[in-house]
């Protein structure tokens, strides 16, 4: 008994040691392959900071642009919220077919999961570049790029939420003769609601951040403004854009924390 306990602990130590050694090896290999040197990287850090401090401070000229920035910022934020909510609705109904608890065929489950994985694993920036062929530099491009990744991610998240928190209630209502749609509204939605809302709020935050990047590509929203100022070397205005995005994201996070606390 005692021997085997010792063995277990010994094996665990060995495991940690091996993992640690492997991590170091991976770092060394990848660092030398990419010619990245941690020490040089760290050394250039203060200089970079000084440059940021000097050039990226919003000045008076930038402040004059603030109304325009605010306008685009709100546009971007609203778009992100709209995309997330619409994607969430689609994802919810789609996830019903991917959940094991709802009792659909295993093949249906598998297909849903694969489709979701496909949408999720293509980065939104790549979606944006692909969609640019069909929509051009248009707000729709950004909309669909965010929609696809959000849809894929939320489908997966909702499947897990439903499997985890709704299975028992689904089973009971099934056993009592309730039909599928009744079960969705009386068991799945009530029990999965906190999880669903949490994920939606998280995706809204993420999408506001991501939409900036996509906006640079598609020449829309706040990303476009940033790109414009940046290319004109108007760093102070560009930095104001960044600051306002940060403020917005923090504000959204505070609001969503509040919402979460109220509904949970």
């Amino acid at each position: 008994m005692n021997e085997s306990v010792k063995k277990v602990f010994f094996r665990r130590k060995i495991t940690y040691l091996v993992i640690f050694a492997a991590l170091i090896a991976v770092y060394i290999i990848s660092a030398s392959a990419t010619e990245f040197h941690l020490s040089e990287g760290l050394a250039s850090f203060p200089k970079a900071m000084a440059w940021i401090g000097h050039n990226l401070m919003p000045d008076e000229k930038a402040m004059k642009r603030f109304p325009k920035i605010l306008d685009k910022l709100i546009e971007t934020a609203l778009l992100s919220v709209a995309v997330t909510v619409i994607a969430a609705i689609f994802a919810f109904f789609f996830s019903l077919f991917g959940s094991k608890a709802t009792g659909f065929n295993g093949i249906v489950n598998r297909i849903v999961r694969i489709v979701a994985a496909f949408f999720r694993n293509v980065p939104d920036v790549v979606w944006a570049m692909l969609l640019m062929f069909s929509f051009g530099q248009n707000i729709l491009t950004g909309f669909f790029a965010l929609f696809f990744t959000t849809f894929g991610l939320l489908t997966r998240a909702f499947i897990e939420t439903i499997d985890e928190v709704s299975a028992a209630g689904i089973e009971a209502l099934n056993a009592s003769g309730a039909n599928f749609i009744q079960t969705v509204f009386q068991a799945i939605i009530p029990s999965a609601m906190p999880g669903i809302v949490t994920w939606i709020l998280y995706m809204i935050e993420t999408n506001i951040r991501n939409s900036t990047l996509i906006g640079i590509l598609t020449a829309t929203g706040i990303g476009y403004l940033f790109d414009l100022y940046y290319k004109r070397l108007d760093f102070s205005s560009a930095s104001l854009v960044v600051v306002s995005i940060i403020v917005l994201v923090i504000a959204i996070e505070l609001v969503s924390n509040l919402i979460r606390r109220v509904i949970l």
Binding site: A168, G169, A172, N174, A175, S176, G177, A178, Q182, Q186
Partner: protein
């Protein structure tokens, strides 16, 4: 008159060993039957084949005059509405109130739209309150289910089943997660339902003593086969050994199964 008849029912999960092996028995209307047996014997499988939460592989199950194995989706739902089910882990929708969970028992008899909206008639609501009152839960009606104790949750589960007006109630280890006091309350309620409402009850149990005390008839299952079927006074120590395995090793896995 038998309300339920199993004839040579077998169940094979994913082509592994037989979970049920040629099981035959019949249950009369109004009976209170316990099914006992070690963990993995196939007790849950028997119950779930009746309302087709699990599809049996072969044989026939005639319930209230219908062969349930041949039912189409719609007919199956019809059969399920007259069959209550009580679960070890209560299976309530925890974030809804007690009264809403009780009213869930009506969903099978309602239209989709009414069910979706949770639109219940005054009559249904009064009935739900009356049932809750009977089970000693009148004060809890508006509480959320996650605020209740295990014993109270199980009583909500019973109320939900009664709300269905079932002919048969299937109980899959209704007291396995409860302390002895709460267990007694639950078993007493089940017995009362059986006596007063003439609802047939089939109860899976881990505790032999509880089965002996409450049932008119006990079915002992071991490794997918029925090894005992008789009155409680016929269940001798020898027979108990036959059910749980003479070397007692099955009894140990049984206890572990209960803990997990």
């Amino acid at each position: 008159m038998p309300i339920l008849e199993f004839q040579n029912v077998s169940k094979v999960y994913n082509n592994t060993a037989k979970a049920l092996d040629n099981v035959s028995f019949s249950i009369d209307e109004g009976e209170f039957v316990s099914i006992i047996g070690p963990s993995g014997a196939g007790k849950s499988t028997v119950l779930r084949c009746i309302n087709r939460l699990i599809d049996a592989t072969s044989g026939s199950i005639v319930y209230d005059g219908q062969n349930v194995m041949k039912l189409k989706k719609r007919e199956l739902r019809q059969v399920r509405t007259k069959t209550g089910m009580i679960f070890q882990h209560y299976n309530l929708v925890d974030r809804l109130s007690v009264i809403e969970n009780v009213l869930h028992g009506r969903l099978g008899q309602k239209s989709t739209v009414c069910g979706v909206l949770g639109a219940y008639s005054e009559q249904e609501k009064e009935r739900a309150f009356a049932i809750l009152d009977e089970l000693g839960l009148a004060d809890q009606a508006y509480k959320r289910c996650d605020e209740l104790s295990g014993g109270q949750k199980q009583r909500v589960g019973i109320a939900r089943s009664i709300m269905q007006d079932p002919k048969l109630i299937l109980c899959d280890e209704p007291i396995a997660s409860l302390d002895p006091r709460a267990s007694k309350v639950i078993m007493d309620h089940l017995q009362k339902i059986n006596c007063e409402r003439k609802i047939t009850c089939i109860v899976n149990l881990h505790q032999v003593d509880v089965a002996l005390k409450y049932s008119e008839r006990i079915i002992g299952v071991s490794a997918g086969k029925i090894v005992f079927d008789g009155r409680p006074d016929e269940l001798t120590d020898d027979k108990i050994h036959a059910i749980y395995g003479s070397d007692g090793s099955d009894l140990i896995t049984d206890i572990q199964g209960e803990k997990s």
